[in-house]
Point group: C7
Chain length 95, copies 7
């Protein structure tokens, strides 16, 4: 079973705290808008520009990304949790 | 009797909980914006782009989709419940 | 006496409950945004696109449509009630 | 003394209740957004489209129109009351 | 000393009540959005359209206009009061 | 040390009350949106139009301008106070 | 480990108060919207214009910038604090 996000949405699997690498990015507890790390699992069908052409994604499958904690929709599949969110809500690629 | 949605709307028949396949997608009870599964029953007349051409749909009749629970308008026909919603509100195709 | 709606508006005559056909569409009482059925009586002068051309309507005179109950403006003429509403607010054509 | 509305505005003289023809349009007292009848007295200078061309009006001087009661600005001139409103706020031409 | 408004703004000198001509326009006290009369004293530098060309003004220096009472910014110069407001907020030219 | 504003922002040094010339512009205490005078100290990098070309500024270095009192961001440099604000928020050039 | 911001976002390292040069910019305590200084550490992938071309950034790596204190998202990496924010929220380049 697969999830194909629609439009400019992507499917992201949030990383559990124990998976976040040592010496990696730490989100301060005092941060106003708390981001979290995740891995891109699937890209959407793509947004169309004014000429009807598909706008390419800036992220790709397998990218580790920094995303807002409450920016997407949570779904669960095969025992794993995912987030479906618009690509523009992703803050950065970590690598 | 048929329902032809207008513009970029689609007609979706929500799946009852007993129809959701085992090992499928589970929506956590704690999810902020609770999505549900459904099957696309009819596509709309299509949205027009700036050049007056019909923008093709990303979903097709028969697709199982993930959609927000309160994103559409409920109607009942022949004893069945449906939702009429804009395609952009559909989160993903499941397959 | 005739009413010619302006722009992308249409004139719709709501169907009384006894006129709604048996086996037809039933709007659940629990529906959040309650739609109702009606018949298109007149199309507007049409909306202009960016090139100044009239955008054609997706509905036509005589169509039975599903529309939000409080999406238009009520008027009464010759003892009958009508709604003037923008075409984009019409949910679907029933046929 | 004359009033020349600016842009896509028009000058409308509301009809008094005794002027509304028999068998004409009746606005139900229960109507959520109460419209009233009026006669177009002057068209504005016109709105410009993206190419800088004046968009033609859909109404003309002398048209009887249906308009929202509180959609314009009231002015009084030579003992008569008028409304200055944007053409897009006019619901329909009656004829 | 001169004031040159920026963009689509104009400088208007409101007429005092004793300057408003007899038989002229009367603003009813019950008017929801009370307009007032004024004389255009200076035009702005002009708004640019999508092609970078200056959009011409519909009003000119010396025009008597009808404007909303609280639509602009009050300034005082040489003992006189003025309003700086966007041209689109001016309702009509009176002549 | 220099401040180069970004985009359509400008750097303005507000005039102190004793610097405002006699017979100049007086802002009434009763003004709803109180403007103040200032001198343009630096222009921004410029806003880009739809074709990617820089839109020229309507103000230039050295211009005395009328601006809303709370429309910008205050900064202090070398003992002087400045405001960084978008050019569209400047009301007029005084000269 | 690197952070590559997405779209028109940039990664900025805020300067600590002891790093702010003498005779430099002082933000008054009474400032309504308090800005702070920082150094641009990484540019994003860039925003696309209507023709699908990447819009160039106005800031570059190493620029000292003036930015609103609460305009971005805080992240911590290798013991240092950063802000991810959209370039349009940066007020000025200092140099």
């Amino acid at each position: 079973m697969k999830i194909k996000p629609l439009g400019d949405r992507v499917l992201v699997e949030p990383l559990k705290e124990e998976e976040v690498k040592k010496g990696g990015i730490i989100i301060p507890d005092t941060a106003k808008e708390k981001p979290q790390e995740g891995v891109v699992v699937a890209l959407g069908t793509g947004k169309l520009d004014d000429d009807g052409k598909v706008v390419p994604f800036n992220v790709k499958k397998g990218d580790t990304v920094l995303m807002p904690k409450y920016g997407g929709t949570e779904v669960k599949m095969g025992g794993k949790e995912y987030q479906i969110m618009r690509e523009d809500d992703i803050l950065a690629v970590i690598g």
